[in-house]
């Protein structure tokens, strides 16, 4: 790719980017939120037409006008957010839009299932081809996307933050797969904010900042701090410091909570926990062990089959999200697209989503757009949400900026209890630093924070106490400072219980 320029109204997402990709290499693309990584790859994949610049593929100049053409030329892309049809099964999603000789009358699903099983076995992407996609966790849906690209025989594989949603074990597996694919001569673009992964898997690294290439360097010549500095343009703290917690009264109490998942199977089996004002309780665990269900039950999006949730002394079990919000709970959802934001609404509208009907945003029955805009401008400035205008649709935000928008909105509600699920998913190093600081500041100002994260580093960095979840139960609780990583790892894998 030579001199790629892509403009959007008010922003230059790519300002003359040169990028080359060799067969057999893993090429990492690094950069801050909004640096233009996704845009560059969307240009390559035929989703956007560049305003200037050339794309060459195997010695030929190409200009894809649609992803279909790109796929035909051996490109595959796994997007930052998933492009799956929820009611369809895994296999149906994968063959969707594919032609087979027997179509349209009969696509041989059995053969597809068999092939997918072997493919997923081969790469360790454990997934049931017959499962409807809506029953899958975020992490599992990600695997489907990867499988889909592999199934279509991609020679060039673009992965936009594939690891953001995977468990550490899955990440290791994926990185191994990527190496194996590269070994077979495939070319891989790997976008990630996790410097460790990038250093571990890639051959070369290109760093973007403000739509321009800062540098392309071999991975051996790089280290974490140097990369962070190149991305951000200043020194970054990779781990924030925090003082000891000053826990007070219990704000969130969960007792003996049970619930079933979308398939009707038990997902929570008698979970009990307490979060006090001024402390952060971190829930560690491998994705899919009931964290999503716990999040949904507490926020009123899923019914508890038994047990209670109490917020600030009021019972919140099986009440509506509005009622629970009124008790003082704010929520940073793990699935920001399904729950957190309206992509076609403006950023300003998204920022007042729950508060829109209240004063001062509604007065005498009318929306006060001027006041909504002011509030949005205040919040985007305070939380560094980068956008040319708060009147732009939220879908124009880069992934990390969308996450910051949600964070801004939830904290603007001045919660008493904050449920933060995967709060830094998809954020760049400096944004993570910022969010971590913010969460700690919230804690210090007396908010009770329940942090659900599959990112063990994040749990360790933030939590005052750590609870480990495994198969719908809390299998251990320990103090955060000085916690034994090895022991937590064993508990996450289900092989050890601590006496509480």
């Amino acid at each position: 790719m030579h001199g790629i320029v892509k403009r959007f109204p008010g922003v230059i997402a790519n300002a003359g980017v040169d990028f080359d990709l060799l067969p057999g290499e893993v090429h990492a693309l690094l950069g801050e939120n909004g640096a233009g990584k996704t845009t560059l790859m969307n240009v390559l994949y035929g989703l956007y037409r560049p305003d200037a610049g050339e794309i060459w593929l195997r010695g030929r100049r190409v200009a894809f006008s649609s992803p279909r053409e790109a796929i035909g030329q051996g490109l595959g892309m796994v997007h930052q957010h998933f492009m799956l049809v929820k009611p369809f099964t895994v296999a149906e999603n994968i063959v969707l839009g594919q032609r087979s000789p027997r179509e349209p009358l009969a696509h041989d699903m059995r053969q597809t299932h068999r092939y997918l099983r072997s493919l997923s076995g081969q790469y360790g992407l454990a997934i049931d081809p017959a499962a409807p996609v809506w029953t899958l966790s975020v992490g599992e849906q990600q695997r489907v996307e990867i499988l889909k690209a592999l199934y279509r025989g991609a020679e060039v594989l673009i992965l936009d933050e594939p690891t953001a949603v995977l468990t550490p074990q899955e990440v290791d597996d994926l990185l191994a797969i990527l190496r194996r694919l590269a070994g077979e001569g495939k070319a891989i673009v790997f976008i990630s904010h996790k410097l460790g992964e990038v250093l571990g898997v890639s051959d070369r690294i290109t760093v973007l900042r403000d739509g321009k290439v800062v540098e392309t360097l071999p991975a051996q010549a790089a280290d974490e701090h140097g990369l962070a500095r190149r991305m951000v343009g200043r020194e970054v703290l990779l781990r924030v410091s925090k003082g000891p917690a000053q826990p007070g009264e219990v704000r969130l109490a969960v007792q003996n909570l049970s619930a079933v998942n979308d398939r009707g199977l038990p997902a929570l089996r008698g979970v009990s926990l307490e979060v006090r004002t001024g402390e952060i309780l971190g829930i560690a665990g491998v994705a899919g062990n009931g964290q999503t269900e716990l999040e949904e039950v507490i926020t009123g999006l899923r019914r508890a089959t038994s047990g209670t949730v109490t917020i600030c002394g009021h019972t919140a079990t099986n009440r509506s999200p509005t009622a629970i919000g009124a008790l003082g709970l704010a929520h940073i959802p793990s699935d920001r697209y399904a729950m957190g934001m309206l992509r076609y609404f403006t950023i300003a509208e998204n920022l007042v989503l729950q508060r829109v009907g209240q004063a001062p945003f509604t007065q005498r029955g009318w929306l006060r757009k001027d006041i909504i805009r002011q509030e949005a401008q205040r919040l985007t400035a305070a939380f560094d949400v980068r956008t040319p205008s708060v009147e732009n649709p939220a879908r124009t935000l880069s992934g990390g900026n969308a996450q910051k928008m949600i964070l801004a909105r939830e904290l603007a509600r001045q919660p008493k209890v904050l449920l933060a699920a995967q709060p830094t998913r998809g954020l760049d190093v400096s944004a993570i630093e910022y969010v971590h600081r913010t969460l700690i500041a919230q804690r210090d100002s007396g908010v009770a924070i329940l942090l659900i994260s599959t990112e063990l580093d994040e749990i360790l960095a933030l939590s005052d106490r750590i609870a480990v979840m495994y198969e719908g139960q809390i299998v251990g609780v320990m103090d955060g400072p000085g916690a034994d990583i090895h022991q937590i790892g064993l508990m996450m894998a289900g092989s050890k219980r601590s006496s509480l």
Binding site: P321, G325, L342, R343, Y344, F345, Q354, G357, L367
Partner: protein, 352 residues
């Protein structure tokens, strides 16, 4: 129309427009292509296409009388289209405008027949409110079926159409039939039950109501928290629910509102044009209303243009039929082709 097509049309409609040029150019180009295809049909039917189109234009806009006719035809389409735009923005696919129109006509008409002695300032509002209520309640049946039992509103509103139309036909032939009359029609409404007209023309109160509704619906969609919530439900119900919006209530409102406006259109037409209840009082407004809403991109101004366009096409086609003796079916076919090509070009223009 399948749910998928409706949804994809509606999806396109929610995208911000790539600029005013595309906004206006696409429908114009689409319309021209449609008329171009129509040329072949007219030639096959053995007439001179240019002359036929001239007649068509003359018929819709050629003089004060013609313009009046077109405006009168626009009013019910506009009222229905505005109501449906609100529903469609919430992704509530009310296909039952026709039935709601009939039930509005029935309730409002029955009030007019029942109280012939009331003075006009009392009777007219009572009929209008009754008409709106009739449509509202009829749509609410589908709404309750949806929120209580999860029945698709597409199917229920469609089925309720048949029930409503047949019920009105029964009433016109049975309980409400003109005493001593032979035709399956009610007695004629008294003069006090007719909407007042203005400036010695046939332009009536219903046209005024339609005009007033344009800014009202605009304000509802864009300037009230209710409209905000409706749009949120339409964009993504899971997010709306997460944000504490009562999705079921919004669905009920969307059906009630569109039903009420459909019912209003029904009673307006009965009070002004038909002046009595009978089996055939609509001319398919319930269905054209859907196209008007979608063609107008569910935006009050777009809907206004679409309603006017649709009305002109209908009136113009009629005079082509009358003047040239071209078959009625041909005029209808041209009308349908034009609408299809506008929709097609519009959809193409709003890709990516």
């Amino acid at each position: 129309m399948t749910q998928a097509t409706i949804e994809s049309l509606a999806h396109d409609a929610r995208k911000p427009l790539p600029g005013w040029a595309a906004h206006i150019a696409a429908p114009v180009v689409g319309g021209l292509i449609g008329l171009g295809i129509g040329v072949f049909l007219i030639v096959i039917a053995g007439a001179d296409p240019l002359a036929a189109y001239a007649v068509m234009f003359q018929g819709a806009f050629g003089g004060a009388r013609q313009i009046q006719e077109t405006i009168l035809k626009t009013a019910p389409l506009l009222i229905m289209g505005l109501g449906l735009s609100v529903a469609f923005r919430a992704r509530v696919w009310n296909i039952g405008g026709e039935g709601q129109y009939y039930m509005g006509a029935l309730v409002g008409g029955a009030i007019g027949l029942a109280f012939p002695g009331w003075p006009s300032p009392l009777l007219i509002p009572a009929m209008l409110v009754g008409g709106a209520a009739g449509g509202l309640l009829w749509a609410l049946i589908a709404g309750l079926m949806k929120v209580r039992r999860g029945v698709s509103e597409i199917i229920s509103t469609l089925m309720l159409n048949y029930i409503a139309i047949l019920f009105v036909q029964y009433m016109a032939r049975g309980p409400l039939q003109e005493p001593g009359g032979y035709l399956p029609e009610s007695a004629q409404l008294v003069a006090a039950a007719r909407l007042p007209t203005f400036f010695g023309t046939r332009i009536h109160l219903g046209v005024l109501i339609a005009l007033v509704l344009i800014p009202l619906v605009f304000a509802l969609i864009w300037s009230t928290p209710l409209g905000f919530r409706l749009r949120a439900v339409g964009e993504r119900a899971s997010v709306a629910r997460y944000a504490g919006i009562q999705v079921e209530r919004m669905i009920l409102f969307a059906l009630a509102f569109s039903g009420a406006l459909a019912g209003l259109a029904g009673i307006i037409e009965v009070s002004t044009l038909h002046t009595r209840l009978k089996g055939e009082i609509s001319g398919g407004y319930g269905f054209s209303g859907i196209l008007v809403a979608l063609l107008g991109r569910m935006h009050p101004l777009g809907v206004t243009v679409a309603a006017l366009f649709f009305a002109a096409l209908t009136i113009g086609a009629q005079s082509m039929h009358v003047v040239y003796g071209l078959p009625d079916a041909l005029a209808n076919a041209i009308q349908a082709i034009v609408v299809l090509s506008v929709l097609a070009v519009d959809a193409l223009a709003h890709r990516r």
